[in-house]
Symmetry: C2
Subunit: 166 residues, 2 copies
Protein backbone atom coordinates (compact mmCIF):
# COMPACT_ATOMS: atom_id res chain seq x y z
CA UNK A 1 0.00 0.00 0.00
CA UNK A 2 2.95 2.34 0.38
CA UNK A 3 3.63 4.69 -2.43
CA UNK A 4 6.61 6.80 -3.31
CA UNK A 5 6.89 10.26 -1.76
CA UNK A 6 5.17 13.06 -3.68
CA UNK A 7 7.25 14.44 -6.50
CA UNK A 8 8.13 18.01 -5.70
CA UNK A 9 7.87 19.28 -9.26
CA UNK A 10 10.33 22.09 -8.52
CA UNK A 11 11.36 21.93 -12.14
CA UNK A 12 7.95 23.08 -13.33
CA UNK A 13 5.92 26.23 -12.83
CA UNK A 14 3.65 25.76 -9.79
CA UNK A 15 0.09 27.04 -9.81
CA UNK A 16 -0.35 30.52 -8.38
CA UNK A 17 -2.54 30.74 -5.29
CA UNK A 18 -5.41 33.08 -6.18
CA UNK A 19 -5.83 36.20 -4.06
CA UNK A 20 -9.60 35.86 -4.18
CA UNK A 21 -12.24 33.47 -5.45
CA UNK A 22 -13.32 36.18 -7.91
CA UNK A 23 -9.85 36.17 -9.44
CA UNK A 24 -10.01 32.46 -10.30
CA UNK A 25 -13.79 32.06 -10.70
CA UNK A 26 -15.90 29.16 -9.42
CA UNK A 27 -15.62 27.25 -12.68
CA UNK A 28 -11.84 27.11 -12.47
CA UNK A 29 -11.64 26.48 -8.75
CA UNK A 30 -10.95 22.73 -8.51
CA UNK A 31 -12.45 22.22 -5.00
CA UNK A 32 -15.75 23.67 -6.25
CA UNK A 33 -15.81 21.32 -9.25
CA UNK A 34 -14.81 18.37 -7.05
CA UNK A 35 -17.62 19.14 -4.60
CA UNK A 36 -20.20 19.46 -7.36
CA UNK A 37 -19.08 16.19 -8.93
CA UNK A 38 -19.00 14.21 -5.70
CA UNK A 39 -22.31 15.68 -4.52
CA UNK A 40 -23.95 14.44 -7.71
CA UNK A 41 -22.06 11.13 -7.75
CA UNK A 42 -23.05 10.26 -4.19
CA UNK A 43 -26.65 11.32 -4.72
CA UNK A 44 -26.90 9.26 -7.86
CA UNK A 45 -25.46 6.19 -6.07
CA UNK A 46 -27.82 6.77 -3.15
CA UNK A 47 -30.79 6.81 -5.53
CA UNK A 48 -29.83 3.67 -7.43
CA UNK A 49 -28.72 1.74 -4.33
CA UNK A 50 -31.81 2.96 -2.46
CA UNK A 51 -34.01 1.44 -5.17
CA UNK A 52 -32.17 -1.83 -4.55
CA UNK A 53 -32.83 -1.43 -0.81
CA UNK A 54 -29.18 -0.75 0.07
CA UNK A 55 -27.28 2.14 1.60
CA UNK A 56 -24.17 3.86 0.25
CA UNK A 57 -22.30 3.33 3.54
CA UNK A 58 -22.96 -0.43 3.51
CA UNK A 59 -22.01 -0.84 -0.13
CA UNK A 60 -18.93 1.34 0.16
CA UNK A 61 -17.78 -0.76 3.13
CA UNK A 62 -18.29 -3.98 1.17
CA UNK A 63 -16.55 -2.41 -1.84
CA UNK A 64 -13.41 -1.68 0.18
CA UNK A 65 -13.42 -5.10 1.86
CA UNK A 66 -13.93 -6.83 -1.50
CA UNK A 67 -10.48 -5.63 -2.56
CA UNK A 68 -8.73 -5.22 0.84
CA UNK A 69 -10.10 -7.77 3.25
CA UNK A 70 -9.22 -7.96 6.95
CA UNK A 71 -8.90 -4.23 7.67
CA UNK A 72 -9.30 -2.80 11.15
CA UNK A 73 -12.15 -0.38 11.85
CA UNK A 74 -9.97 2.75 11.81
CA UNK A 75 -8.44 1.76 8.45
CA UNK A 76 -11.85 0.96 7.03
CA UNK A 77 -13.15 4.39 8.12
CA UNK A 78 -10.36 6.05 6.12
CA UNK A 79 -10.69 3.90 2.98
CA UNK A 80 -14.48 4.01 2.88
CA UNK A 81 -14.60 7.70 3.92
CA UNK A 82 -17.22 7.02 6.59
CA UNK A 83 -17.25 8.65 10.02
CA UNK A 84 -16.40 6.26 12.86
CA UNK A 85 -19.87 6.50 14.43
CA UNK A 86 -21.66 5.81 11.13
CA UNK A 87 -19.21 3.04 10.32
CA UNK A 88 -19.83 1.43 13.67
CA UNK A 89 -23.60 1.26 13.00
CA UNK A 90 -22.93 0.11 9.43
CA UNK A 91 -20.72 -2.75 10.62
CA UNK A 92 -23.36 -3.84 13.15
CA UNK A 93 -25.94 -3.97 10.37
CA UNK A 94 -23.60 -5.80 7.98
CA UNK A 95 -22.69 -8.32 10.68
CA UNK A 96 -26.31 -9.03 11.59
CA UNK A 97 -26.98 -9.73 7.92
CA UNK A 98 -23.92 -12.01 7.85
CA UNK A 99 -22.28 -9.90 5.13
CA UNK A 100 -19.13 -9.37 7.22
CA UNK A 101 -17.58 -11.02 10.25
CA UNK A 102 -15.20 -9.60 12.84
CA UNK A 103 -12.20 -11.57 13.99
CA UNK A 104 -9.85 -10.88 16.92
CA UNK A 105 -6.25 -10.08 15.98
CA UNK A 106 -3.78 -12.97 16.20
CA UNK A 107 -1.29 -10.98 18.27
CA UNK A 108 -3.60 -8.43 19.92
CA UNK A 109 -7.01 -9.82 20.81
CA UNK A 110 -8.38 -6.32 21.52
CA UNK A 111 -8.04 -5.53 17.83
CA UNK A 112 -10.81 -6.60 15.45
CA UNK A 113 -10.24 -7.34 11.79
CA UNK A 114 -13.23 -7.05 9.48
CA UNK A 115 -13.71 -9.75 6.87
CA UNK A 116 -16.23 -9.86 4.06
CA UNK A 117 -18.20 -13.12 3.87
CA UNK A 118 -19.06 -14.98 0.67
CA UNK A 119 -22.58 -13.64 1.05
CA UNK A 120 -21.19 -10.09 1.35
CA UNK A 121 -19.03 -10.57 -1.71
CA UNK A 122 -21.97 -11.89 -3.71
CA UNK A 123 -24.10 -8.89 -2.66
CA UNK A 124 -21.40 -6.43 -3.66
CA UNK A 125 -20.89 -8.16 -7.01
CA UNK A 126 -24.62 -7.79 -7.61
CA UNK A 127 -24.41 -4.06 -6.85
CA UNK A 128 -21.23 -3.45 -8.86
CA UNK A 129 -23.05 -2.71 -12.15
CA UNK A 130 -24.63 0.33 -10.44
CA UNK A 131 -21.17 1.67 -9.54
CA UNK A 132 -19.86 0.78 -12.99
CA UNK A 133 -22.75 2.58 -14.69
CA UNK A 134 -22.13 5.80 -12.73
CA UNK A 135 -18.41 5.50 -13.45
CA UNK A 136 -19.16 5.06 -17.14
CA UNK A 137 -21.39 8.15 -17.15
CA UNK A 138 -18.70 10.25 -15.43
CA UNK A 139 -16.07 9.45 -18.05
CA UNK A 140 -18.28 9.32 -21.13
CA UNK A 141 -16.36 10.74 -24.08
CA UNK A 142 -13.13 11.12 -22.10
CA UNK A 143 -10.24 9.35 -23.85
CA UNK A 144 -8.28 6.68 -21.99
CA UNK A 145 -5.11 8.82 -21.94
CA UNK A 146 -6.92 11.80 -20.38
CA UNK A 147 -8.46 9.47 -17.80
CA UNK A 148 -5.03 8.04 -16.98
CA UNK A 149 -3.55 11.52 -16.43
CA UNK A 150 -6.58 12.49 -14.35
CA UNK A 151 -6.13 9.47 -12.05
CA UNK A 152 -2.40 10.31 -11.76
CA UNK A 153 -3.21 13.81 -10.60
CA UNK A 154 -5.84 12.51 -8.14
CA UNK A 155 -3.22 10.19 -6.64
CA UNK A 156 -0.79 13.11 -6.25
CA UNK A 157 -3.47 15.26 -4.58
CA UNK A 158 -4.38 12.45 -2.20
CA UNK A 159 -0.71 12.06 -1.25
CA UNK A 160 -0.58 15.82 -0.63
CA UNK A 161 -3.55 16.01 1.70
CA UNK A 162 -4.05 12.63 3.36
CA UNK A 163 -3.26 12.29 7.05
CA UNK A 164 -2.74 8.54 6.94
CA UNK A 165 0.02 6.75 5.12
CA UNK A 166 -2.44 4.76 3.06
CA UNK B 1 -23.17 30.16 -17.41
CA UNK B 2 -23.96 27.94 -20.34
CA UNK B 3 -21.17 25.83 -21.67
CA UNK B 4 -20.76 23.94 -24.89
CA UNK B 5 -22.11 20.41 -25.07
CA UNK B 6 -19.74 17.66 -23.93
CA UNK B 7 -17.27 16.62 -26.60
CA UNK B 8 -17.98 13.06 -27.55
CA UNK B 9 -14.36 12.11 -28.11
CA UNK B 10 -15.39 9.38 -30.53
CA UNK B 11 -12.05 9.85 -32.24
CA UNK B 12 -10.17 8.61 -29.17
CA UNK B 13 -10.10 5.33 -27.30
CA UNK B 14 -12.67 5.48 -24.48
CA UNK B 15 -11.92 4.02 -21.06
CA UNK B 16 -13.03 0.42 -20.61
CA UNK B 17 -15.65 -0.13 -17.91
CA UNK B 18 -14.11 -2.56 -15.42
CA UNK B 19 -15.93 -5.83 -14.84
CA UNK B 20 -15.14 -5.71 -11.13
CA UNK B 21 -13.54 -3.39 -8.61
CA UNK B 22 -10.77 -5.96 -8.18
CA UNK B 23 -9.91 -5.66 -11.87
CA UNK B 24 -9.25 -1.93 -11.64
CA UNK B 25 -8.17 -1.71 -7.96
CA UNK B 26 -9.21 0.97 -5.46
CA UNK B 27 -6.17 3.12 -6.21
CA UNK B 28 -7.08 3.45 -9.87
CA UNK B 29 -10.81 3.83 -9.35
CA UNK B 30 -11.37 7.58 -9.72
CA UNK B 31 -14.56 7.77 -7.58
CA UNK B 32 -12.64 6.22 -4.67
CA UNK B 33 -9.82 8.77 -5.00
CA UNK B 34 -12.33 11.61 -5.38
CA UNK B 35 -14.17 10.53 -2.23
CA UNK B 36 -10.96 10.25 -0.22
CA UNK B 37 -9.82 13.68 -1.38
CA UNK B 38 -13.11 15.43 -0.74
CA UNK B 39 -13.56 13.71 2.63
CA UNK B 40 -10.20 15.06 3.74
CA UNK B 41 -10.71 18.47 2.10
CA UNK B 42 -14.05 19.04 3.79
CA UNK B 43 -12.80 17.83 7.15
CA UNK B 44 -9.78 20.07 6.95
CA UNK B 45 -11.98 23.09 6.08
CA UNK B 46 -14.37 22.19 8.89
CA UNK B 47 -11.49 22.14 11.36
CA UNK B 48 -9.97 25.44 10.30
CA UNK B 49 -13.32 27.22 9.89
CA UNK B 50 -14.51 25.72 13.18
CA UNK B 51 -11.54 27.28 14.97
CA UNK B 52 -12.66 30.60 13.49
CA UNK B 53 -16.20 29.91 14.79
CA UNK B 54 -17.69 29.39 11.32
CA UNK B 55 -19.38 26.50 9.54
CA UNK B 56 -18.54 25.06 6.12
CA UNK B 57 -22.15 25.48 4.93
CA UNK B 58 -22.20 29.20 5.83
CA UNK B 59 -18.84 29.89 4.25
CA UNK B 60 -19.59 27.87 1.13
CA UNK B 61 -22.82 29.83 0.70
CA UNK B 62 -21.00 33.14 1.06
CA UNK B 63 -18.27 31.87 -1.31
CA UNK B 64 -20.80 31.20 -4.07
CA UNK B 65 -22.64 34.48 -3.52
CA UNK B 66 -19.35 36.41 -3.51
CA UNK B 67 -18.89 35.48 -7.18
CA UNK B 68 -22.51 34.93 -8.32
CA UNK B 69 -24.76 37.26 -6.35
CA UNK B 70 -28.56 37.24 -6.51
CA UNK B 71 -29.13 33.50 -6.96
CA UNK B 72 -32.39 31.81 -6.03
CA UNK B 73 -32.40 29.18 -3.27
CA UNK B 74 -32.58 26.19 -5.64
CA UNK B 75 -29.65 27.49 -7.68
CA UNK B 76 -27.65 28.20 -4.53
CA UNK B 77 -28.27 24.63 -3.30
CA UNK B 78 -26.75 23.26 -6.51
CA UNK B 79 -23.75 25.59 -6.64
CA UNK B 80 -22.93 25.28 -2.93
CA UNK B 81 -23.72 21.53 -2.87
CA UNK B 82 -25.88 21.89 0.23
CA UNK B 83 -29.15 20.03 0.78
CA UNK B 84 -32.23 22.27 0.64
CA UNK B 85 -33.12 21.73 4.33
CA UNK B 86 -29.58 22.54 5.50
CA UNK B 87 -29.39 25.50 3.14
CA UNK B 88 -32.66 26.83 4.49
CA UNK B 89 -31.29 26.83 8.07
CA UNK B 90 -27.99 28.25 6.84
CA UNK B 91 -29.74 31.14 5.08
CA UNK B 92 -31.78 31.91 8.21
CA UNK B 93 -28.57 32.08 10.24
CA UNK B 94 -26.77 34.20 7.64
CA UNK B 95 -29.72 36.57 7.41
CA UNK B 96 -29.99 37.03 11.17
CA UNK B 97 -26.28 37.93 11.20
CA UNK B 98 -26.91 40.38 8.34
CA UNK B 99 -24.44 38.55 6.10
CA UNK B 100 -27.05 38.06 3.35
CA UNK B 101 -30.40 39.61 2.49
CA UNK B 102 -33.32 38.15 0.55
CA UNK B 103 -35.10 40.20 -2.06
CA UNK B 104 -38.36 39.47 -3.87
CA UNK B 105 -38.07 38.94 -7.64
CA UNK B 106 -38.92 41.94 -9.82
CA UNK B 107 -41.30 39.97 -12.04
CA UNK B 108 -42.34 37.19 -9.64
CA UNK B 109 -42.66 38.31 -6.03
CA UNK B 110 -42.92 34.70 -4.82
CA UNK B 111 -39.32 34.18 -5.87
CA UNK B 112 -36.52 35.23 -3.51
CA UNK B 113 -33.08 36.24 -4.68
CA UNK B 114 -30.25 35.94 -2.19
CA UNK B 115 -27.74 38.78 -2.00
CA UNK B 116 -24.52 38.93 -0.05
CA UNK B 117 -24.14 42.07 2.09
CA UNK B 118 -20.95 44.09 2.47
CA UNK B 119 -20.58 42.52 5.90
CA UNK B 120 -20.95 39.05 4.35
CA UNK B 121 -18.37 39.85 1.70
CA UNK B 122 -15.94 41.13 4.32
CA UNK B 123 -16.39 37.96 6.39
CA UNK B 124 -15.79 35.72 3.38
CA UNK B 125 -12.69 37.70 2.40
CA UNK B 126 -11.39 37.17 5.92
CA UNK B 127 -11.97 33.40 5.61
CA UNK B 128 -10.56 33.12 2.07
CA UNK B 129 -6.95 32.50 3.21
CA UNK B 130 -8.15 29.26 4.86
CA UNK B 131 -9.64 28.06 1.54
CA UNK B 132 -6.54 29.25 -0.32
CA UNK B 133 -4.24 27.40 2.08
CA UNK B 134 -6.09 24.10 1.62
CA UNK B 135 -6.10 24.66 -2.15
CA UNK B 136 -2.37 25.30 -2.06
CA UNK B 137 -1.75 22.10 -0.07
CA UNK B 138 -3.82 20.06 -2.55
CA UNK B 139 -1.80 21.18 -5.54
CA UNK B 140 1.63 21.39 -3.93
CA UNK B 141 4.26 20.28 -6.45
CA UNK B 142 1.72 19.95 -9.27
CA UNK B 143 2.79 21.98 -12.30
CA UNK B 144 0.44 24.63 -13.72
CA UNK B 145 -0.06 22.68 -16.96
CA UNK B 146 -1.09 19.50 -15.10
CA UNK B 147 -3.47 21.57 -12.96
CA UNK B 148 -4.98 23.13 -16.07
CA UNK B 149 -5.59 19.71 -17.66
CA UNK B 150 -7.02 18.42 -14.38
CA UNK B 151 -9.53 21.30 -14.20
CA UNK B 152 -10.46 20.67 -17.86
CA UNK B 153 -11.26 17.04 -17.08
CA UNK B 154 -13.25 18.03 -13.98
CA UNK B 155 -15.34 20.39 -16.12
CA UNK B 156 -16.02 17.58 -18.62
CA UNK B 157 -17.03 15.18 -15.84
CA UNK B 158 -19.36 17.77 -14.32
CA UNK B 159 -21.00 18.30 -17.72
CA UNK B 160 -21.40 14.52 -17.99
CA UNK B 161 -23.12 14.02 -14.66
CA UNK B 162 -24.86 17.24 -13.66
CA UNK B 163 -28.63 17.38 -13.72
CA UNK B 164 -28.84 21.15 -14.00
CA UNK B 165 -27.69 23.19 -16.92
CA UNK B 166 -25.28 25.18 -14.76
Amino acid sequence: MNESAPRTGQDAEPIPVPKSLGEIGLRHFAPYLLNRIMGRYNQSLQESLGEAGQSVAKMRTLAVLSVTDGLMTNELAVYAVIEQSTLSRTLDALESEKLIRRQAGATDSRVRHIHITDKGRALFNEAWPLFARTYHTMFAGIPAEEHRRFVDTLQRILRNIRKHDF
